[in-house]
Symmetry: none
Subunit: 249 residues, 2 copies
DNA sequence: TTTACGTAGGGCACTGAGTGCCATACCCTC
DNA sequence: GAGGGTATGGCACTCAGTGCCCTACGTAAA
């Protein structure tokens, strides 16, 4: 069972933390934890096992991670902070597009380490406590997006409701695309999968309205145009837009 | 797939052993727990305190509730079963309207005991572990709705995505209305508050025709039309289709 | 009435997560 | 070399949750 114990504890007590400058105890704990999780599973691995393998004291684990679950999601805290920072500097543009861009920060984080992300995905799917932890993390992302949208919709008489619903929709769509990518083993382009899902949300609320005439997002297929417009737009304007698109060919 | 059964019978079937008829122990534990929670708070109340007050053995607590958190949400399991039963018997009607009706089962459960619901709401807001538990419960409702929508959208090429996004939107809107009612101390009509929020979602995806409620209806520019056409289609055909879409309202 | 059995509950000991407190080792500055 | 801040280890403790075994009670069969 616990045969893999190269007793680095005494060594660590003498020489202190390993001289690798950028990866001190935190990285060592993550490394040790995942090695054990992937072999014995999350629940059958105790914190004592982890610290024994990492060659550190048990008390140190809880100095770096508030719970055993936290070691599985080591970079979400930083990503959450990035998202908040991004949103505070994004005061222009269609609000829905901004939060979609914010959601893509999460995609990028997952895509930065596909192997790790896929391993964690499989782990999380079958461990209830990790599912619960993931739900709380997702919820914090959603709250961050909703908070931003609520400010942007401040004048709207249903702004708060719109913010809640759109934030939930963006998160759901993002996770749909992300899970598609994860189920595929992390092969292919995560950003593309997420973008396809987010497109549905943006089309739903019409934030893709101008894409047909601007050169930034041409028709997805060579022989098809997708046109999205507010229902209240006058007919002449719709025709004008379509003519412009076709004419620019 | 989903055979139509009598609603009441199905509900009774999934209810299984009736908890309200014979469960003095269960009720006593809930009663004792809430008395202590409201005085000392959730975290400062131990399971030993609860069983001591209820006058039962500690082991019995975990026979009735798998965790300390479960005692705070004693009727969600039953409501979840009711929702599943309701959806199994609802094979007709606009899918989005059906899941909105399903969500209203939750509203009804909260509204059936306003005082209890408000107390629990305040408790849940300030106890992290209860927040986490609530998230998992909400997630199960959302999965139930998404599962139903996925079946109804089986032919759709983005059916799975549509199901995810709409389920998330319905849950977000429902909770928005419910929390409004809870923050107001459980005064007024919970169903009305939830309906107002759900109206936004139904209008978003057009399952509402012309809304009779003028006061709460969002602006018409929320509605969008999505037009997909081969690039080679003649212009008059495009215009005809748009006119038909707008006129068929 | 007695016996056998199934079930609800209590008692007890154990595991493991998470915390508070204190001691120690290291590093930097004066 | 002395002093102060920081990082780490060790230890003991609380408490949630579980497994096992025991008792009590009701019931059905002999």
């Amino acid at each position: 069972m616990t045969d893999v114990r190269d007793e680095g504890k005494a060594t660590a007590a003498v020489s202190g933390p390993e001289p690798s400058d950028k990866a001190p105890m935190r990285e060592a704990l993550i490394e040790a934890a995942f090695q054990l999780f992937l072999v014995h599973g999350f629940e059958r691995t105790t914190v004592d096992d982890i610290v024994a393998r990492a060659g550190v004291g048990r008390r140190s684990f809880f100095r770096y991670f508030p719970s055993k679950e936290d070691v599985v999601f080591p970079e979400h805290e930083r990503c959450l902070a990035e998202m908040s920072a991004f949103l505070t500097t994004s005061t222009a543009g269609e609000p829905l597009d901004v939060v979609c861009d914010a959601a893509r920060l999460v995609t990028r984080m997952y895509a930065a380490n596909p192997e790790f992300s896929v391993q964690r995905y499989r782990l999380t799917r079958e461990v209830p406590s990790l599912r619960g932890y993931e739900l709380s993390v997702v919820h914090r992302y959603e709250r961050t997006l909703a908070h931003y949208l609520r400010q942007r919709y401040a004048g709207d008489h249903v702004g708060a409701l719109r913010a809640e619903v759109q934030a939930a929709a963006v998160v759901a769509a993002h996770n749909n695309g992300l899970r598609t990518w994860l189920r595929g083993g992390g092969q292919g382009d995560a950003a593309k999968a997420v973008d396809q899902s987010l497109t549905f949300v943006r089309q739903t609320w019409g934030s893709l309205g101008e894409s047909a005439e601007s050169g930034t997002a041409p028709a997805p297929e060579d022989d098809v145009i997708v046109m999205v417009a507010p229902r209240s737009v006058p007919m002449w304007r719709v025709v004008q837009k379509i003519e412009k698109t076709l004419g620019g060919d």
